[in-house]
């Protein structure tokens, strides 16, 4: 291939990588945010548990298990929804040719066939679970540091 084309492909790969990282960050922050909202809404309930003498370790374990289960269920649902769509798209192909019909110099195939690379999917799911568990640590830190009465004053 021509050096210019190689350069173009390399540039394209770098751009895709940056877009992917940004995409992951947005997804992970959104997921962590949803989990945090749900946990913060329950701070008063956790305060009630602590007021009735339930140990902090148990409440923290409860929060971690909830975060883990939410993560696992989200992954199962997300994968179940995405898998048939990706398989169908792979079989049928996504035709981009009409977007490029006036560009005769673009040499790549205009039919895109998306795949689910298991390694990358597993890595991103693992990372998602780690992010959710780290997010769960934020309300746990609050539980540990404030007086119980402040938890009971939560709306």
């Amino acid at each position: 291939m021509l050096p210019d084309v190689l350069k173009l492909i390399e540039l394209n790969n770098i751009a895709m990588f940056v877009v992917l990282i940004i995409f992951y960050i947005v997804i992970f922050i959104s997921a962590a945010n949803i989990l945090l909202i749900s946990l913060y809404e329950k701070l008063k309930i956790f305060g009630i548990f602590i007021a009735f003498g339930i140990s902090y370790i148990k409440v923290a374990a409860y929060i971690f298990i909830e975060a883990f289960l939410i993560g696992v269920i989200s992954i199962i649902l997300g994968f179940s929804a995405a898998y048939p769509i990706v398989k169908y798209s792979y079989y049928k192909g996504i035709d981009f040719s009409k977007f490029f019909e006036y560009n005769p110099y673009f040499m790549l195939d205009m039919i895109i066939r998306p795949e689910l690379p298991i390694n990358e999917i597993a890595q991103s799911y693992f990372l998602l679970l780690v992010i959710l568990l780290l997010a769960a640590a934020i309300p746990i830190k609050k539980l540990m540091t404030v007086n119980t009465i402040e938890l009971l004053r939560e709306p």
């Binding site: 309930i45 548990f49 003498g53 339930i54 902090y56 009971l152």
Partner: protein, 217 residues
């Protein structure tokens, strides 16, 4: 026995410093029903929160059964409450998503005391509210919710019951009923401390502590 020595609790804002509670010496003994009365803002709830270990004093010590609870860490305080104290809140703080039985069971489950399940039925019967067992809190009246709140405070069989305005949202008939229930608890060698505006409590309690501006008068 509960002993309070030179305790104070101060709330600070940018411009103000409010002394919520300032008490030199106060003792509570078992087998007695104490009423803490006083106007709004007199420090009744703050005092109860300090005794229950839900909040910490800025100065002084609180000794419960010869143990200085002001020195305990959060987790130790939680264990202390587990073993000694039942709390009845002004807003009953029932979990709306759970039925009445589930509200009670969750406290037993998380304290590894599932063997006490049968107590739930007994207490619901004693408090004449067994029919509400499978209902959700929002299906109950204020008086019924408060009775459940009392049962929840009793379910771990504590010797000290702290009740913060237990009749605040109730009519006088229900208030009398709740005070009578609290009085009955005392017969079992327990100690009940209730903060209230409701002066009919004097017909039920053994001792009244008047608070004004955080001080005993």
């Amino acid at each position: 026995m509960i002993e309070l020595r030179n305790i104070s609790k101060i709330y600070k804002t940018a411009n103000y410093k409010i002394i919520a509670v300032s008490i030199e010496n106060l003792n509570f003994f078992y087998s007695k029903f104490y009423a803490i009365v006083g106007p709004s803002g007199s420090g009744k709830s703050t005092l109860l929160h300090l005794i229950a270990g839900l909040d910490r004093p800025d100065n002084g010590v609180i000794i419960v059964n010869n143990k200085n609870i002001t020195e305990l860490k959060n987790d130790e305080l939680s264990k202390f409450r587990n073993e000694n104290i039942g709390i009845i809140f002004q807003k009953d703080n029932l979990i709306e998503e759970l039925t009445i039985v589930e509200n009670l069971r969750i406290i037993l489950d998380l304290n590894d005391k599932s063997e006490n399940y049968k107590m739930i039925t007994t207490l619901l019967e004693d408090f004449k509210i067994l029919a509400a067992a499978d209902k959700f809190p929002n299906e109950l009246s204020g008086g019924e919710r408060q009775r459940i709140s009392i049962i929840r405070a009793l379910i771990l069989q504590p010797k000290i019951i702290i009740a913060d305005e237990p009749t605040a949202n109730l009519d006088s008939e229900n208030a009398k009923y709740i005070f009578q229930l609290l009085k009955n608890i005392v017969k079992d060698n327990s100690l009940v401390i209730a903060a209230t505006h409701d002066l009919i409590i004097k017909n039920y309690c053994d001792e009244i502590i008047n608070l004004k501006d955080g001080k005993i008068i």
